[in-house]
């Protein structure tokens, strides 16, 4: 039995050693790839999107440049401070993390060409009446460590008499303000803008100050080639439009300054569902309405909707009464003479619909049958144009409802209608189905008077592109047309935006949470394994009758037990490479940290456990002629271990919890995963509840397991 346990232990040791050996060269083999550090979460510059992929302006820029210049990058979101330190210690080659170029930083870093202009602003809780720094007197202000905005705030601190609290993450400073702990926070303008646009309950309360530039940094005097490549690549992507595309994707373009804050009058039709119609609260809604409002919001202008009727709206634009028209207006060559059109935002066309149980699905099957149309529509025009060819009769109705009813009751076999209108009707419960593809393709466009309001037109195009990129466009369409046509698009964009329940959050982040949990468990198991070996060895050294060995043991315990785990982790991860010039993978650094820290505690109780065994036991063994080692192994340890078992269990549980501290060196374990998820969806309370529950479940299981082991070791 004992031999079996020993063998299992040996196998585990061999296994872990092999893994380590495999892991080490593996991480060094990609030396050609540049290791770039970035912040954990600094939207819109870097953040994990809903697929848990890191995106953002910084990430896209460095990746585009790498592609352009033919090198590889491995972007590591280790956190701003960790990234700065890792670049300095040589763990990482470069940093791109919304890092403002300052004279102090220039002492330590070489920066590439500045790639983004920024400035520090103050933000306060939405609805707060604080509008100037003077109102901050005696109040608390939240800052993010090491940012230019924090420097700016600190420079104002004395003059305006406010207090500051610092956090490691942007989310934390925002939360501190929204919860009311702090009255204001300072951050970089684009970051705050982006956050507010995505639902942060803050408002910007000061003008950008201390304007500066973001730069890509490497350790001073190193990686000249990388900087050169970065600068060349940046030039290229700025010239070919990639840069603008990237920035536009996250923030909208700089053009919106032309329309920002202005109000435009937009004409539309009185009722043209699903594009525009009054809902039961008498508010104009519909695809056109939602779209123009979303674009206005995105681009920072305001709109005044005037439901004038289609013809009146067109004329109002021509006369300059209205600035633009959005009214399901097809882009035609005749209209282009008077109007400048945006890019098409919708493709319409005429479709044929039949009763739900009908077998008709082709125009050729209409021969000799009756078809319903509505007077004056393009559907009617289309039907009339083909009725000869396919030999069917046409009946006309004055309104859509009658036309639909005629088909569903079977008087007519089919009807012709504009595609979106038909889709909308079906979504609203009309018992028909669409059986043909849209004919007479007619793209809809937003129009302004020819040669006028070009800024508005441009803003519309940009906003449309942004909404398409973000998925808002698809969800607007899906809202009115059902999931029919845009099934897949609606699915991906619909889920994350809507479902913020616990179950929803777990479903969305299942993959991320599981891999975080896996990392936590793996880290725990490997660390416990090595910490136990280290701890038992050091503990035994403490009871061997040898002054040197006892001293070593005492010193090791004193050293590693006396150091905060956080400090030890940072020291090993960033300090050791500075001393030796040898990089350490974060995982190895994490395991080493826990091995020393938890090992020191284990050593202490191993030593204590042995010392707790009655000294008479050792005397009796020695008096029989047993050497010290044999007496230890056969008599003292078996009794000591029984004393130590509860402490071991306790220490294993602590180790599991302590892995969370390793998130500081960027290990993507459970806690770090939680942080990243919250950075995206701002659901702090719910996500932390989920993360806490996962820890509790694991610890409960571990406790059961330990109790079982404990029962087994008791004789």
């Amino acid at each position: 039995m004992k031999r079996k346990v020993l063998m299992a232990f040996g196998l585990l040791a061999a296994f872990a050693t092999i893994l380590f050996c495999l892991a080490l060269p593996g991480s060094q083999a990609q030396a050609k790839t540049y290791q770039i550090g970035t912040d954990v979460t600094y939207p819109p510059f870097e953040f994990a999107n809903k697929n848990n992929k890191y995106v953002g302006i910084d990430i896209d820029i460095i990746k585009s440049i790498a592609k352009e210049e033919g090198f590889k990058v491995n972007v590591k979101p280790v956190g701003f401070n960790a990234a700065v330190q890792s670049v300095q210690s040589g763990q990482l080659d470069g940093i791109i993390a919304g890092m403002t170029i300052t004279p102090e930083r220039k002492d330590k870093f070489d920066f590439g060409t500045p790639y983004y202009k920024t400035g520090a602003v103050m933000a306060v809780k939405k609805g707060s009446d604080i509008t100037s720094f003077k109102q901050l007197k005696g109040k608390k202000v939240a800052l993010k460590t090491g940012t230019a905005a924090a420097d700016y705030a600190n420079s104002l601190k004395k003059k305006y008499g406010f207090k500051t609290v610092t956090f490691d993450d942007s989310d934390n400073i925002y939360q501190d303000v929204t919860t009311g702990n702090s009255v204001a926070c300072f951050d970089d303008q684009p970051v705050l803008q982006y956050g507010i646009k995505h639902g942060l309950k803050l408002q910007i309360a000061s003008k950008p100050a201390n304007q500066g530039w973001y730069g890509f940094g490497v350790k001073k005097g190193t990686h000249k080639a990388l900087i050169k490549k970065f600068n060349a690549g940046l030039k290229k992507i700025q010239a070919n439009g990639t840069y603008d595309k990237i920035v536009g994707k996250y923030l909208g373009t700089a053009n919106n300054s032309k329309v920002k804050g202005k109000t435009f009058t937009i004409g539309t039709d009185v009722t043209f569902p699903p594009f525009e119609f009054a809902n039961k609260n008498n508010k104009y809604v519909g695809i056109d309405m939602d779209l123009i409002r979303a674009i206005a919001n995105e681009q920072g202008f305001k709109v005044k909707i005037k439901a004038l009727g289609f013809n009146a709206a067109v004329q109002a634009v021509e006369s300059g009464q209205a600035d633009g028209v959005i009214a399901g207006m097809s882009i035609t060559n005749e209209r282009k003479a008077q109007f400048d059109f945006s890019k098409p935002y919708f493709n319409s066309g005429v479709v044929m619909a039949v009763a739900q149980n009908s077998k008709i699905h082709k125009l050729s099957e209409l021969r000799g049958k009756r078809v319903a149309v509505k007077t004056g529509t393009s559907g009617a025009d289309y039907a009339n144009s083909i009725k000869k060819k396919y030999g069917f009769k046409v009946v006309t109705f004055d309104d859509s409802n009658n036309m639909y009813a005629d088909v569903s009751t079977g008087n007519s076999v089919a009807c012709f209608e504009d595609h979106p209108v038909m889709q909308y009707a079906i979504k609203q419960g009309t018992k028909l189905k669409i059986v043909t593809k849209p004919a007479l393709n007619a793209p809809y466009g937003f129009a302004v008077k020819k040669g006028h309001n070009q800024a508005l037109l441009q803003a519309f195009n940009q906003g449309l592109a942004d909404l398409k990129a973000s998925g808002t466009y698809d969800s607007i369409k899906a809202k009115y047309l059902g999931a029919d046509e845009i099934k897949t698009a609606a699915k991906t964009s619909g889920n994350d935006a809507e479902d913020r329940t616990f179950i929803g959050l777990i479903k969305q982040n299942k993959g991320a949470l599981l891999s975080g949990l896996q990392e936590t468990l793996w880290l725990t198991v490997v660390s416990i394994f090595f910490a136990t070996i280290f701890g038992v060895l050091v503990g035994l050294m403490g009871v061997v009758p040898n002054k040197f060995s006892q001293g070593t043991s005492t010193t090791l315990i004193y050293l590693f037990r006396g150091m905060p785990l956080l400090v030890l982790a940072l020291f090993i991860y960033t300090g050791i490479p500075s001393l030796t010039g040898q990089k350490i993978p974060a995982f190895v650094a994490g395991v080493v940290t826990l091995t020393f820290n938890e090992g020191a505690y284990i050593a202490a109780f191993v030593k204590g456990g042995i010392q707790a065994v009655d000294p008479g036991q050792m005397e009796a063994s020695r008096s029989l002629g047993l050497p010290f080692g044999k007496a230890m192994r056969k008599v003292i340890l078996p009794q000591g271990i029984r004393i130590m078992v509860p402490s071991f269990i306790n220490q294993f549980i602590i180790t599991l919890k302590d892995t969370s501290i390793l998130s500081i060196i960027g290990l993507l374990e459970l806690t770090q995963t939680g942080k990243i998820i919250i950075a995206r969806n701002l659901e702090g309370f719910k996500v932390w509840t989920i993360v806490a529950a996962i820890y509790l479940i694991i610890i409960t299981v571990l406790t059961w397991l330990s109790n079982w082991v404990q029962r087994r070791t008791k004789v």
Partner: protein
Amino acid sequence: MSEKVKVTNLVKTFGDNEVLKGINLTVQKNEVVVIIGPSGSGKSTLLRNLNKLEEPTSGSIVIDNVDIARNDVDINAVRENIGMVFQHFNLFKNLSVGENIMLAPVELKKQTKDKAAIQAKQLLKTVGLEEKFDATVQSLSGGQQQRVAIARALAMNPDIMLFDEPTSALDPEMVGDVLAVMKDLAKQGMTMVVVTHEMGFAKEVADRVVFVDDGQILEEGTPEQIFEHPKNERLQDFLNKILNV
């Protein structure tokens, strides 16, 4: 008769405290020497020096012509020939009765496991506990534990046995069984050094009684000399106290 143990000028200090102040003592082969004296007089320390559970500060301890006080002596080999029985028995709590007795012979490769088991049973029989081979230590009474401890010490076939107040921690009704085992040992000619307060045992079994006080041997002689005609004043004092209780 030949000299088995010869202690010369043995001094033992703990820090500033001189516990043994130059002891000279000889033990002949097959002799039973009983050491008596008040608490704290240094009797136990003297005994524990004889197998170097305490490191002598100065002086020599020659056992079978080897000075074990020297540092180049293989003390484990010396101890194999000197059995020791403790006041608090010190049976190994993680082992069964049989395993307690077998541990040293098997670990020190004196015997195979099977032979050791046969011997252990034999020894248990001589101390009257043959049915306790598989019992746990915790299930035994104090007297039984002490008899097992004697069996354990005998398992290495020592030619000297040291007893450090073997009955002091026992309930009175247990004392007789343990003393009986010790008497048998003495009859078989075992060389024994016994620290005890059992004056009856000393009178009956001892070849020689040694009175220790304040780290010195103040008087030694046959039981008759010591108990009937004590010369030393402090010995008379000591005997008065313990015999007239």
